[in-house]
Amino acid sequence: MSQTITIDPVTRLEGHGKITLKTDDNGAVQEAFFTVTQVRGFEKFCEGRPFYEMPSLMARICGICPVSHLVASAKACEAIMSVEIPHTAAQLRRMLNLAQMVQSHSLSFFYLSSPDLLLGMDADPAVRHLFGVVEAKPELGRGGVRLRRFGQHIIELLGNKRIHPGWVIPGGVTEPLTTAKRDEILAMIPEAYANVKYALNWYKQIVPNFKDEIESFANFPSLFLGLVNEDDSIEFTDGALRLIDAEGNIVKDGIHAAQFEDNFGEAVEPYSFVKFPYYKPLGYPEGSYRVGPLARLNIAKTMGTPLADEELIEFKKLSKGPVLGSFHYHYARLVDILYGIEMIERILTDPLILDKHVRATAGVNRQEGFGVAEAPRGTLMHHYKVDDKGLMLYANLIIATGQNNNAMNRGVLQTAQKYINGKKLEQGMLNRVEAVIRTFDPCLSCSTHAFGQMPLSIELLAPDGSRLDEIHR
């Protein structure tokens, strides 16, 4: 008899979601749905507000990656103002964005995923969490906590707040960097290097234990999207978008923020509030793509920093073309962190970094603006329209997690078909179905915006729709 399996809630994610698996009469999984039922109202309730309020307002979408929203929003506002921000302001914002990436990736890798990687996918859920990591390998747990603290403290020093700093504004930043703060950040860098290098070495030792998961965790051909610089190096704050295919061919290059909507559309599926972005010329779902650490490393030809470049060379040896297995998001995340530390150090040694000119001012010079930045989880786009007085008429946000939505759903199906026997549900099977989503590190709060709390579950349904089994966390 066919059935439906529900995993509800899916644990160790940013936000809450639910997985539904439908089996046939033989218990083989036929369909899989990753459902997010939270609703984001931000686009609607910002209408009528002055555009210059948008960075502070939009940052409230998320407590994990508010800086990405600050940066993308400020850039959209600067397009409306038609201004180029001062060099020092651009560098300081780049550093803030990288610091956020480091803290967010540390949360994902060390807090959320390292329990699976260290203790195993079949370990008892009662011990498969950060505390279990701390007990089994305290150096790893301590390094993760310290790396997250490194990123958070930079945000706190620059923005005067760890969460939702108001320092980034349309036109630049509110105040320049002081010598004392620069020196404090520089003093933290050697330990940050040590912690990420330790994690990289450890990860390379344990990754051979996960051959099956590497093969089945959202491992399929797809397009990849991300920001790059003109010299083909990875970029998080400026640059232009590049789309490549599963063989590494450039499908479209030099896509600037204002061209985003010309190139990408959003499909809707009835089971989720998260939309399904796609590359318009290929249509939906053929034009679906992946974003985030894996996509960034697949797209960039160089990291632009020496230590991360050594890792990129090693990463690219995983495949002749782009690395298609989503399990390697974990590895890419660590390389991102290493790059972030190197770039922060480089930015702090910029001779102009203490310059006092950090803000450009202007009024409304255009009635439409786009801003793109790389959030930790991938490309983030803000699009605004304003009236002559600068009051918001329209906003649309295309979030990284949404852009990975199709791949996450395909990945859940692929993993479930390998590990789920519809006649019996076991924790190890279910954890692998959750873990494939964890590789993408989705931020469900960002992708829909949470309103209240919706836990995630796995549900097993029969072909007639009747519920045969359900697991809640």
Binding site: T11, R12, G63, L107, Y111, L112, P115, A126, H129, L130, F131, V134, E135, P138, G141, R142, V145, R146, R148, R149, Q152, R162, I163
Partner: protein, 164 residues
Amino acid sequence: MVPGLTRSIVSVGRQLVVACGNTLRGDDGVAWRIAEAIQKDASLHELRVVIAHQLTPELAEPISGAETVIFVDCSAISLPGEVSVFPVERANNTTGSLTHNVDPSTLLALSQELFGSLPRRAFAITVGGQSFELGERLTELVTLAIPAAVQAIKGLLKNESVEV
């Protein structure tokens, strides 16, 4: 300054207050107001105060270096405006993912496991909340309880038995 309280009496060398709550949800922000009050108190100028939305694992490090830690939060189950003081002990068993939100007992355990030490004394001070609706204002009962909570913190820092 509280009568009779001098800087020499309040020994604050390695003392830490961790205040947490959400200032956008009415009375849930009371710990921030208490923290701001003690930060303005000249007699407590060496006291380290950490203000946070939630208790997260990163707090284990500053906690591990403190001799006394006092957690301050709003209580959804106490009577509105009621100030309560509890000793906090290290958790023996920890479950859950420990990502965004941990409790004081677990933070003590984490500080021991990760950084090899934990405070000699640990307390929680709570103020009963009345309204958690959207808004940055505290209700009157909760506002009136702030001085008592500040006094309770000072008493604990002086190593006094606290009655509230």
